[in-house]
């Protein structure tokens, strides 16, 4: 059997209101299921944007000694000076092993317009820093508007609740935006991974688990026996996300 490198694109750690698994529990599950690396964001992003940015950096530094995890930071609007200017923000990301950004416009109460977040989004596009779309469950109209305004950015669609059963909304985005990547946690459509990969390219699909709500194993077997060839399975399992993160110029 050819060994596969799995890089989980959809994990959350850290406490927010209630206790959630941290780095140690995540790494234990990764070992149990054979997941090599993970892209992790903090459970508290929606409620504690700035402190969760600091906390996840500290968690990675303190507990992820083998450096298997890459963090995600949230952005806030440019004009309120809550986050540094883009150059400094990305410098701090690199220094703290943060490889991607996300945003929670509905919880953080701002508009998804160029005059609000254009500066940081344009800088992310220029540097090819991936933007996670994990706050748009069921918000298809807002998501479509957002992507129309920022077509040059690299996006990873990672949200949990609205993926399955949403091919009528997902497929137009894959057709239209070449830098729109689709992560498969809870995309349980029978042989659906293969269908998407054959239609849009295996390069556009990423393995993810939705840890800690999801277990990492079910999607691994689904991908392994998706019907795709070994090269495409390897891309989806981990190579694509690794390529995207390495391509970011932080």
């Amino acid at each position: 059997m050819k060994e596969l490198m799995f890089f989980d694109a959809n994990c959350r750690i850290g406490d927010c209101i209630e206790a959630y698994p941290g780095v140690t529990e995540l790494l234990a599950d990764m070992d149990y299921y054979g997941v090599d690396k993970a892209l992790v964001r903090h459970n508290g992003i929606a409620k504690l944007p700035l402190s969760s940015n600091r906390e996840i950096a500290e968690m990675l530094k303190q507990y992820d000694v083998q450096q298997r995890l890459t963090g995600v930071w949230t952005i806030l609007p440019d004009s309120c000076d809550e986050i540094p200017e883009p150059d400094e923000f990305f410098r701090q990301m690199k220094a703290n092993r943060i490889g991607a950004i996300t945003l929670s416009p509905f919880e953080h109460r701002y508009q998804l317009r160029r005059i609000v977040i254009g500066k940081i989004m344009d800088a992310a596009a220029e540097r090819r820093v991936p933007v996670l779309l994990d706050a748009f469950a069921g918000q298809w109209a807002q998501l479509y508007d957002f992507l129309e305004r920022f077509p040059e950015n690299t996006f990873i669609y990672t949200e949990l609740g609205g993926k399955w059963g949403s091919d009528r909304n997902i497929r137009p985005l894959l057709e239209t935006y070449e830098n729109f990547y689709f992560e498969i946690a809870r995309y349980w459509v029978p042989e659906g991974i293969r269908d998407l990969a054959e239609k849009y390219g295996a390069e556009r699909i990423l393995y993810g688990s939705a840890f800690p709500a999801g277990n990492q194993g079910n999607g691994m077997l689904q991908l392994k026996h998706s019907g795709l060839n070994d090269a495409d399975i390897a891309k989806i399992a981990g190579e694509n996300l690794e390529r995207i993160l390495k391509g970011a110029q932080l």
Binding site: R186, E191, M220, L221
Partner: protein, 267 residues
């Protein structure tokens, strides 16, 4: 990946990872068929569904047709579909509480649909009812008399489900989706039954730690495997059972042995 469950020699997980199937039959006890108004399904008719489930070694898929539950297809037509796939398909007769005449006619015909019809399917939430609704009484009394399986869609804390389990002690109730989210209530439904209720896993195998909790609560002998096929991929769902931190014996009970204990090896 060395040292992970998929590489554990002799384990079920290792066999499925390597070969794509095990050396035992899988029984998928919660299926559907046909198009759905809100969702794009590429593989929702019998030929594609049977091809999909056979990839992983499903011996029987027991299903209720979507359109039999919405009223545009009759159960007699579903029986004709099953006859085309006698080695794979079995059916639950879909019960629509708003259509009493149709329900009584279908129940009168139930024996003619042997061996394909193995039980009834109730979809109370979608039919603006609960399982204790009087309009279900005729069907449940029939199932009770015949000791038939009745698969009931549940989601959340469903008190009527517990009442029905206790009111109809000879019905084999399959609690679809395990009262999703209300796990302690689902466990209570089993513990306060007279042994006539089972938890059915559709939509759960992707969740972290839930199968473990249910097995600890009721024992793997009371849990059935299902996928809502054509809703959910068989490899995803079986993968979730294999990925649960329970014994291989528990996994075999869920995937294979329990339906045979209830319905026999050749149902």
């Amino acid at each position: 990946m060395s040292g992970c469950i998929w590489n554990e020699p002799g384990s079920l997980a290792e066999k499925f990872w390597r070969e794509g199937k095990g050396d035992f039959p899988i029984y998928d006890m919660h299926g559907h068929m046909g198009a759905h108004y809100a969702i794009y399904f590429k593989r929702c008719e019998a030929p594609e569904m049977v091809a999909h489930v056979k990839r992983i070694g499903v011996k029987r898929l027991v299903f209720s047709h979507h359109e039999a539950l919405w009223g545009s297809v009759r159960n007699a037509q579903v029986y004709e579909i099953c006859k085309q796939y006698p080695n794979t398909l079995r059916m639950y007769a879909g019960i629509i509480p708003q259509r009493q005449d149709q329900m009584k006619e279908d129940i009168a015909n139930f024996d003619r649909w042997a061996p394909y019809a193995v039980g009834l399917k109730l979809l109370p939430g979608y039919h603006s009812a609960d399982v204790m609704d009087k309009r279900y009484e005729y069907a449940l009394a029939f199932a009770n008399e015949r000791k038939l399986p009745v698969l009931v869609h549940t989601w959340g804390r469903d008190m009527a489900m517990l009442e029905a389990i206790q009111k109809y002690p000879d019905v084999r109730f399959f609690i679809g989706h395990c009262c999703y989210g209300a796990w302690d209530h689902a466990i209570r439904c089993i513990k306060e039954s007279s042994g006539n209720a089972y938890l059915e896993l559709t939509a759960i195998p992707g969740d972290r730690g839930i199968i473990e909790k249910l097995v600890a609560g009721v024992g793997s002998e009371k849990i059935l495997f299902g996928t809502d096929m054509p809703w959910f991929d068989e490899y995803q769902a079986v993968g979730g059972v294999l990925a649960a931190k329970i014994s291989d014996d528990d996994k075999l009970n869920i995937l294979s042995r329990n339906p045979e204990r209830i319905l026999g090896k050749d149902f």
